[in-house]
């Protein structure tokens, strides 16, 4: 009896699963994953902090005060102050802007360049595929951060150049992933049917193939944002990203390193902020991967 009830409930769930649209089903599965939900809440919190920083931050992030140099956390300055008497909490809140912007824009560049090239490579094949694949191999052969540092060094130190450098460096991952996905999808019946109906190639690629490979690309984009945030912080740490006095978590860590023995709070908070945001994007990425995986049904 109990088995029959469980089997019936299971069958009902499968039927309900089949009736839902793929997007709604993925969203429902994503919301069932506690880690992913926690990650989304934290990311939303940091986006709000970045957007409303002027209203939320307790002090001006670049206002210096010689009487407040390297003061430990207190009721007035929850995260303490830095070597120029600036409020660390205000700088962490404003620093979210550089990190989130770098994450989104650099992955936007990588996605915007990598996905069309991957589509072209995977769908056209032949010489173009060979050429794009070899260039992709060459770029992937250069370690991510070393190539980003080299690019940022040659472009010149600034946040926008750091974002371009990270975007270019992350592009081959999207080319390779898109190409691989296109290769497996282009032999499917529905693509054959679209071809038989006389659709032009660009239409098949954009309207029949791209929507079907989007889930894998979305997962990669989410995980790439996490990597891009670490890369921006690394470049800013080295002085190749956001330039002082504008706050960024990476550059805050760079100056904190010099005062580690007498002001460790200067290093604790910006590092913790990077860690929490990166963990959140990784949790959402892992959750999306599970939610979009047909095998997990």
């Amino acid at each position: 009896m109990t088995d029959a009830v469980i089997a019936g409930a299971g069958a009902g769930r499968v039927a309900a699963d089949d009736q839902e649209s793929p997007g709604r089903r993925a969203l429902r599965r994503l919301l069932q994953r506690k880690g992913a939900v926690a990650g989304m809440i934290v990311i939303a919190g940091f986006i709000l902090l970045a957007l409303f920083a002027p209203w939320i931050a307790p002090y001006d992030p670049i206002a210096t005060s010689w009487s407040l140099v390297r003061k430990p956390p207190s009721q007035l300055h929850w995260f303490g102050t830095d070597e120029l008497g600036r409020d660390v909490l205000a700088r962490v809140i404003y620093g979210a802007r550089a990190s989130l912007l770098a994450g989104l824009i650099s992955v936007g560049i990588a996605f915007g360049v990598g996905v069309p090239l991957g589509l072209l490579s995977g769908y056209r094949g032949g010489f173009i595929d060979g050429l794009i694949s070899r260039i992709t191999d060459a770029m992937l052969a250069c370690p991510f951060l070393i190539l980003a540092i080299a690019l940022a060094a040659f472009l010149g130190p600034s946040l926008s150049n750091a974002m371009i450098a990270i975007g270019i460096t992350a592009t081959p991952i999207f080319i390779r992933l898109t190409r691989g996905q296109v290769m497996s999808v282009k032999v499917e019946d529905y693509v054959e049917a679209a071809r038989a109906m006389g659709n032009p190639r660009w239409r098949i690629a954009l309207f029949h193939i791209l929507p079907n490979i989007m889930p894998a690309l979305l997962v990669q984009a989410t995980l790439s944002i996490a990597a891009a945030i670490i890369a921006e912080a690394a470049l800013s740490f080295l002085g190749l990203g956001q330039q002082p006095p504008t706050p960024s978590w990476g550059s805050m860590l760079n100056s904190a390193q010099r005062f580690l023995s007498n002001a460790p709070w200067m290093a604790l908070w910006p590092g913790l902020a990077i860690f929490v945001v990166v963990v959140s994007f990784n949790l959402v990425g892992d959750g999306l991967r599970d939610a979009l995986d047909p095998k997990s049904r």
């Binding site: 070899r134 260039i135 191999d137 060459a138 770029m139 052969a141 250069c142 370690p143 991510f144 951060l145 070393i146 190539l147 540092i149 080299a150 690019l151 060094a153 040659f154 472009l155 010149g156 996490a226 670490i230 912080a233 690394a234 740490f237 080295l238 002085g239 190749l240 860590l253 904190a256 390193q257 580690l260 023995s261 460790p264 290093a267 604790l268 910006p270 590092g271 990077i274 860690f275 990166v278 963990v279 990784n282 949790l283």
Partner: protein, 313 residues
Amino acid sequence: MLSFLAKRLVQLIPTLFFVSVLIFSLQQLLPGDPALVMAGEERDPAVIAQIREQYRLDRPLPVQYLYWMKGVLSGDFGESLRIKVPVRELIGQKLPVTIQLASMAIVIAFLIGIPAGIVSAVKKGTAWDYAANLFALWGISTPNFWLGIMLIFLFSIELGWLPASGYVPLSVNWRASLAATIMPAFVLGNAIAGVLMRHTRSAMLQVLESDYVRTARAKGLMERSVILKHAMRNALTPIITLGALELGTLLSGAVLTEQIFSIPGFGKLIVDAVFNRDYAVVQGVVLVTATAYILLNLIADIAYILANPRLRA
């Protein structure tokens, strides 16, 4: 096997060619006249003319590339603009330091990541599994430069157990060398341990459900023997080759780790070169790194085939 090797070697040629074009093209990103940018603060026309002559900047790009490539193929990566030392010599001095650091990091990563992955798979769904997964998430998400700074604060400043910076070669004093490199090696190995743990867990889970493991259990073998002799041996083959592919992560991580711990290795060389606008050094280091990465990929592929009898046939 031989035909596979030949095919992979042939594939290397265009990849290496594009890598060299990519790295050579970096110079073209310099805003304005490259000779002026390379000269930096130096505005002496004689120096600028010498740079233009040295890098053949007045010649067409393909000609510049051919001259650069000719030098690279004969082991001449140019000369450091700042300290007037051949780039090859600089790389030769710094590479052993980074190799020591990277080797220690890989050992640490394997020692943590593989046991954690095995325990996580064997004890799936238990507190052990959750703890191992949390550890992997921590490893993958922690910025290594922050971890390095925090470890210096704890072990050097607060406890005074380990030196905060510096490097002693193994050949001079192995104890001092290990003390100076253990923290940076842990920082580097931490991220890779997280990746290895995830791969080991998924490989072990797959193997534990296979027929031969079920057969081994049905024969009445002890669980320890089933896991260590039957499951682990097969699951770890791809993981060990995967370790070679983590070289890119290691070298990227070394850039920041060496900077934080003031270790005079490959990573510090590239950062110093970037700040000194020593572009020949930047190009040389990136080229050597990329070539090493490509060759290690090849070795990993070959090792994978050698370790897998079905692929060998």
